[in-house]
Amino acid sequence: MVRFKSRYLLCEVCVPDRSSLQLLEDRTIYNTLRAAVNRAHGDYGSALFNIGVIVKYLNAHTGVVLIRSRKKHYRLIWSALSFITCLENRGQKVQCFLNCLHVGGTIRTCQKFLVKYNRQQLHRMLPDCKTDAEKQEVRRAILSCSLSNVREEEAGEDGSDDDGDKET
């Protein structure tokens, strides 16, 4: 069986102010990325961008983006990713940068990595907690991290669940 092999770039949108993440949309990221590829690699880059690149998943709470690209030229797309400085949505500019966390061959491996990564974030959060209630909340969240939970819920729901913890 022949199929098109892809690479999935799991990226994190880093912004100075977390509340501005709510403005993000799939289309915003797609258009910004297209403009960045066009600027960095010209017509050739745009042509490669038009085949196979798609924003598969966006979590506006945690700022996680999953971008699919053809395996053959994902490095070209990726190199343009680092030149993004701001995202624009409905006239509002958000200063940010994209940080690539993981490159996977399937969505599943990316998902696995994301669960691991978010768990790590919770661990990093633990020493910063001030009250005991917060600590308990984060500990509970760490224990509830597993891929079986993800499979039961929708991937999006897992993200929003995670966000609730981050706000504590």
Partner: protein
């Protein structure tokens, strides 16, 4: 063994800004960062600044992403040299962990590669490199273990500087064939930093191979640190440090006094 390092964060007077840059670097997974003090002797007798003590900036260093150890912060001095007299190794240089030089002319570049006692040679990023890289001095620098640095923050800021950065980097890579290169940020704001894997991939634009590009943010940086240490110590073989005297004496004394007491009773 590959920990990522970013050996160029431009220092500023604003402590909060510096702190947020270092925090971002820790979040991105850099284990070591160096705060860069740039000195341009050409402009009105500029003095070499005293490096801020690192513990001044932070009470508690942020923990590196994916590791359990806190981030390491070093001090670095960069001298923009347009005349041979600008680089004078004095005692003030010794208070920095790393010393870099940014030669403006071909003669100085040659001297920097062959004789200057430095760890890093910077190349131009915001303008066209005013001279060609010759093979002899570059090979000499590689032999001595001096590294070439290219910064990517300028490439992120602006299109024209991006063109210069890429062009200068490629012309350097042609001569040194991807050896002895480090890629660092040169960031003035936290949003100018990029993740280490992104930078390793950015090496594609600088015509570095995959392995060389990754080495440029990890193992090569480590060699730079070790090279910096050889300046402070006797070629890194012997290292002397002052022994703290007072607390030991007290330790010795206290058991003696106890003994004396026991004898008395």
């Amino acid at each position: 063994m590959s920990v990522f390092m970013d050996l160029n964060i431009i220092s500023g007077n604003d402590k909060n800004k510096l702190r947020s840059i270092v925090e971002t670097a820790a979040h991105l997974g850099y284990s070591t960062v160096a705060i860069n003090y740039v000195v341009e002797p050409q402009q009105k007798k500029q003095e070499i600044p005293k490096p801020q003590s690192v513990s001044d900036i932070f009470d508690k260093f942020p923990v590196v992403q994916g590791k359990s150890s806190p981030i390491k912060v070093l001090n670095r001095l960069t001298i923009i040299a347009s005349d041979a007299s600008h680089f004078r190794p004095t005692n003030e240089y010794k208070s920095f962990d790393l010393v870099a030089v940014y030669p403006k002319t071909e003669k100085l570049f040659h001297a920097a590669c062959m004789t200057f006692d430095v760890d890093i040679i910077c190349i131009a990023v915001a303008e066209k490199q005013p001279f060609h890289f010759k093979r002899a001095p570059v090979n000499g620098a590689i032999e001595r273990g001096v590294f070439f640095e290219t910064c990517y923050a300028a490439a992120i800021r602006d299109t024209t500087t991006r063109r210069y950065t890429i062009a200068n980097a490629i012309s350097l890579m042609e001569v040194c064939k991807g050896k002895n290169i480090i890629v660092s940020s040169g960031a003035e704001r936290p949003l100018e930093l990029r993740g280490p894997y992104d930078i390793a991939n950015l090496g594609l634009l600088f015509s570095l191979s995959e392995g060389d590009a990754k080495a440029a943010v990890s193992s090569n940086c480590r060699s730079v640190l070790l090279h910096g240490e050889t300046r402070a110590t006797a070629s890194g073989v012997i290292y002397t440090m002052k022994k703290p005297k007072t607390p030991q004496k007290q330790e010795e004394e206290s058991p003696l006094s106890k003994k004396a007491k026991t004898e008395l009773t």
